[in-house]
Structures are given as C-alpha cells and as structure tokens.
C-alpha cells in the first residue's frame, strides 16, 4: 500500500507527460499521410486505446487466475478495479474507430472483424461488471466473476476468429508488427509508441488508484461492521 502510494504520483505524472507529449508530437509534429490526410492522426488515440482495451482483459484473466489458485484478495479486487478501465478504453477504441472510419470507409460503422471483435469485448466487460454488481458477498462475487472471466476469455478468442472467418473486412493490417513491410513509417511510429506506453502507464495508474480505493472500501465496510457488533 505504501509502495503503491509512493509510486502512484510518479506513474501518474509520467503517464500524463507521455500521453500529452505523444499526442502533441503526433498531432502537430508529424506530416499528414499522403492518402488519409490529417485524419490519420486519430491513430495516436485509436491504437493505444484498442491495445489497452484488449490488454486489460488479459490482465483481468491473470488476476482471476491468481485469485482462483492462490485466493489472494488483492488480485480479485485488482480485476474488479480494472474492468471499468478496460471497458472505457474499449469504448474509446470503438468510438475513434467510428470517427476514423467515417471519412476513410464512408461509414460510421462497418462490420469489420476488428471493430466487431471489440464490440463483443465491450459486451463481455458489461457482463463481467454486471455480475460484480449483482452479488453482495465479495468472496462469492470474486469466485463467480473469476470463472466467468476464464470462460469468457475462451469464448472471446473463439469469437475473434469466428468473426474473422465471417467477414474479412476493410481494416488495415497491423500498424506496428514484426513484419516491417506493412508498418507505418518511423516518423509515425515513434510518437505512436510514446502514446502506447503512455496509455499503458495511464492504465497502471488508474488500476492502482482504483484498487487502493477498493481495498479501503473493503476496510471501511469491515470497520463499520465491527462498530455495529460492539
């Protein structure tokens, strides 16, 4: 707790600096794309948000596994704390995707595999959070949501590939991959990486903050209950 408390302001400052810096760099100091024009700059929000949107789910999966195997209370609370963060990242990814898609593909929504997969992921977040909210006993809720997270992951991955099979889509390929052929040029890549790392740090600071809040909320309710017993 004191460690996380000490780290938190630094992570927050670094996250803000990198996100703001990366965005300013990307928005004002990179050339426009020769085909997409200035609209390409939404990539600096879209790609990091999408990466964190799916990354958060895997963090929740890891935390759920730790809860199931070790019954470490903080990991259950961390998974609970991460879900709304991941949901908002996913929502940002979807929203910026729509805004980007409008001038590029001529439509606000396209049943493109990646967008569709993120829509499904968004539904998974909703279900997961709804289950947390529906159960009163925190240990029961942690158990149920952990199993849901495990099962959900399997089905989300299946859905991802099912959607790919269903519709090949318009989405451009990976912007940053090992295959250098289709990557964006370095001049775009550096600010993009800055934004991605910044979003990652932002995620860490939000989850730390929310987990700390959850821990204190649990303590508070326990102390209130103790007061009532006395």
């Amino acid at each position: 707790m004191s460690l996380s408390g000490a780290v938190l302001p630094w992570v927050t400052a670094l996250a803000v600096a990198m996100v703001v810096g990366g965005l300013i760099w990307g928005f004002f100091f990179t050339p426009n794309d020769f085909r997409q024009g200035a609209t390409v700059k939404i990539i600096y929000i879209h790609v990091p948000a999408a990466i964190m949107g799916s990354g958060t789910w895997f963090m929740m999966l890891a935390a759920s596994l730790v809860w199931v195997i070790r019954r470490h209370h903080v990991s259950a609370l961390a998974a609970k704390a991460a879900a709304p963060v991941g949901m908002v990242f996913t929502l940002i990814g979807l929203f910026t995707g729509a805004v980007w898609g409008q001038p590029m593909w001529g439509t606000w929504w396209e049943w493109d595999p990646r967008l569709t997969a993120f829509l499904i992921l968004f539904l998974f977040y909703l279900g997961y959070m709804a289950l947390w909210a529906a159960v009163e006993n925190p240990d029961t809720a942690a158990d149920l949501t952990a199993v849901l997270c495990l099962v959900g992951t399997v089905f989300a991955v299946i859905a991802r590939y099912a959607i790919l099979f269903w519709n090949q889509g318009l989405h451009q390929g990976a912007s940053l991959s090992m295959d250098t052929e289709e990557n964006v040029a370095d001049v775009f890549a550096y600010p993009l990486w800055t934004c991605i790392i910044g979003f990652g740090l932002l995620f860490i600071c939000l989850v730390l903050l929310r987990t700390r809040t959850e821990i204190r909320a649990r303590r508070l309710s326990a102390l209130i209950a103790q007061e009532r017993m006395a």
């Binding site: 004191s2 903080v74 209950a225 103790q226 017993m229």
Partner: protein, 206 residues
C-alpha cells in the same frame, strides 16, 4: 463415525461458533440444542459439505451423510412415489417400501405432491432419508409441521436407523421422545465476531 474437532463456523461475515468438538458413534443420536441464531443450521450445512468451515476438522467416511434441511426438496408436479423413486435412483437404492411403511405413505402413493398438506410433504421429505442408504443423518428441524402421531413415527424411524448401526444428528426444539439421545447444547461454543476484523490492515501498514 463422525468426528468433529475444534470446528469454527461462520454465517456470512460473522463467525458464530468456535471450538466445536463433537463425536458421533454408530447407534447414537445427538440432539443439537441452542437458541435461535446460534448456528445450528450453519453447523449442519458445514457437516453436510454444503458450506466450508472456517477452521477445524470433520472426519467421516465419504458419502456417509444424508442431509435434510428446511426445504422439502419435493417436486409438486410429481406423485409421492415418483418423488421417492427419483431419490432412490440417485442414491442407487431400489426399495422404497420400507420408507413408505415408516412414514405411512402408502395411501398417498399416487397423489401429486402438490396436493398434500405441509405435514404430509414433510413426511415424504423424511422418507427420502430412508432411501439414501447413508449411515449418518444430519437433520435440520425435521419435525416442522408434523403432528404428535407423526413425530412418534419419525422417532421410531430414527430408532430403527440407530438399531441398524446408523447415527443421527438432529437440530430441534421439541422433545422427540428418543430415550437415549444425547443432548448437545451449542451454547458454550457460541461466539459473535467478524471473520475479518480488519482486512488488508497489513497492506495499509506495509
């Protein structure tokens, strides 16, 4: 047959029983006594394996406990015989006539369970114990809505079960008329404290 050592039980976030030690030997009936809210139901559910214990040990042979709770577990759309046959099948038994005899259910045999009175349903629910073929009966308020005559019937069913080498642990408020039943008062084991007094306190300090 059943050996409970220093068992601690919680209901929700509150620990209600501590250091419960109880031995049950073949042919013995133990009547659980204690005021409302003492934790009789909690204790029986833990012994039956439905809820986890906070700490302590319960030793008994696997698949040896027949549990009966507040709910009857009766399907109102099925007849008495169908209900009982179902449970006999689940427990791998065939003979349901003994159970019918013990609780005088022959006349009700083909009656849909939904048309029976609360007491008749209770008799059916208790008859289920006889088709489980399990030696240790864990019963939670078994005589609710039974009249005098049927309480006596229940008592003799328990006696017969004990005579066959079974054992019974019964939470009840009334006198069952079981002559050699041992009374086990859980009052000395009662406690009221939170399971987690201050969770994450060490985290705050660290």
């Amino acid at each position: 047959m059943l050996e409970i050592t220093s068992l601690a039980c919680a209901r929700g976030a509150v620990q209600v029983l501590q250091n419960v030690d109880l031995n049950l030997i073949a042919g013995e009936a133990v009547v659980l006594r204690g005021p409302n809210g003492a934790g009789k139901t909690t204790l029986l559910r833990i012994i039956a394996g439905l809820s986890p214990a906070l700490s302590g040990q319960i030793k008994c042979a696997s698949d040896s406990i027949a549990y009966s709770g507040h709910a009857d577990g009766i399907k109102t759309n099925l007849t008495v015989a169908q209900n009982l046959n179902f449970w006999a099948g689940v427990f791998g038994q065939r003979d349901i006539t003994t159970a019918f005899d013990a609780f005088d259910l022959h006349d009700l045999r083909d009656r849909p369970a939904g048309e029976m009175s609360a007491g008749q349903k209770r008799r059916l629910s208790l008859a289920r114990l006889l088709v489980t073929g399990r030696p240790i009966w864990c019963l939670d308020e078994p005589t609710v809505s039974l009249d005098q005559e049927n309480v006596a019937r229940f008592a003799s069913a328990v006696q017969a079960h004990l005579a066959r080498g079974g054992a019974a642990l019964i939470a009840t408020h009334i006198d069952l008329g079981l002559a050699d039943a041992r009374i086990f008062d859980i009052k000395p084991f009662m406690c009221r404290k939170l399971v987690e007094t201050d969770p994450f306190a060490d985290w705050e300090a660290a």
